[in-house]
Amino acid sequence: MFIERMVNQGNLPLIERMMKMTARRHEMLSNNIVNISTPGYQQRDVNVQAFQKMLRERSAQRRVAGPGQIRFDDLDPTQMDSDGSKQGMLFHDRSNRSIEGLMSDFSSNAIKYNLFTELLRKQYGSFDNVLRERVS
């Protein structure tokens, strides 16, 4: 119960959820990239804004309820798929695919993922310090 409360306070669950979301987005964006020359393919993406809004609402609830009361692990980024294609007129199948846009989304998503893993690692490191009763 104590450990449960420890890991479910602060920004640890938020970081974990964001990591999950960026990992899921990575999969979807890579699928968009490999299907860049597939005719009629509909690009798919995670709705980042909606997911972050859900996270914000959930953390506002937690601020009222206190740590350990509100759980985050039911927020599933796979439910947030949105149709990432913006209708265009450049191609015959009316998909506005641009490798530049996809690659820049892809790399910024990867950088975010690395940032969240690094943050999570730091958090775990501080837990480790607490458990060993030493300061850094």
């Binding site: 990992a23 299907n35 020359s37 893993t117």
Partner: protein, 134 residues
């Protein structure tokens, strides 16, 4: 995350098959006979991509669904002395347009590069995840 590696690999395979097809078109752009030696010109091939892995279409990825034959008419060239010329002196040449093939080749090679970059990024993300354990 590991599935992204498979996805990327399927993209590489598909683009390579596309490149092979394009190279075959270019090689045979003046072939006026078929493999049996009959005066039937080479027909341009093209690949048809479809989403999904080659083995399992429900998995994310891309695969070559089929390699189709271009039904457009052959190029007619006036060469009365040619063995394969018709009664009017015209020879049927393959319906391959070099500029189209080169444009497609460029697209295929760029898409291949994009897939490589994607795989590199995926690998680097996986290794940063593994560092969580250390």
């Amino acid at each position: 995350m590991f599935s992204s590696l498979e996805t990327g690999a399927s993209g590489l395979t598909a683009q390579r098959v596309r490149m092979d097809t394009l190279a075959n078109n270019l090689l045979n752009m003046s072939t006026t006979r078929n493999a049996q030696g009959q005066p039937e010109p080479y027909r341009r091939r093209f690949v048809v991509f479809a989403p999904g892995q080659a083995g399992d279409h429900s998995k994310p990825g891309v695969h070559v669904q089929k390699i189709g034959l271009d039904r457009s008419p052959f190029r007619m060239k006036y060469e009365p002395g040619h063995e394969d010329a018709n009664a009017q002196g015209y020879v049927r040449y393959p319906n391959v347009d070099m500029s189209v093939e080169f444009t497609n080749m460029l697209e295929a090679s760029r898409a291949y590069e994009a897939n490589i970059t994607m795989l590199e990024t995926t690998k680097q993300m996986l290794s940063s995840t593994l560092r969580l354990l250390a």
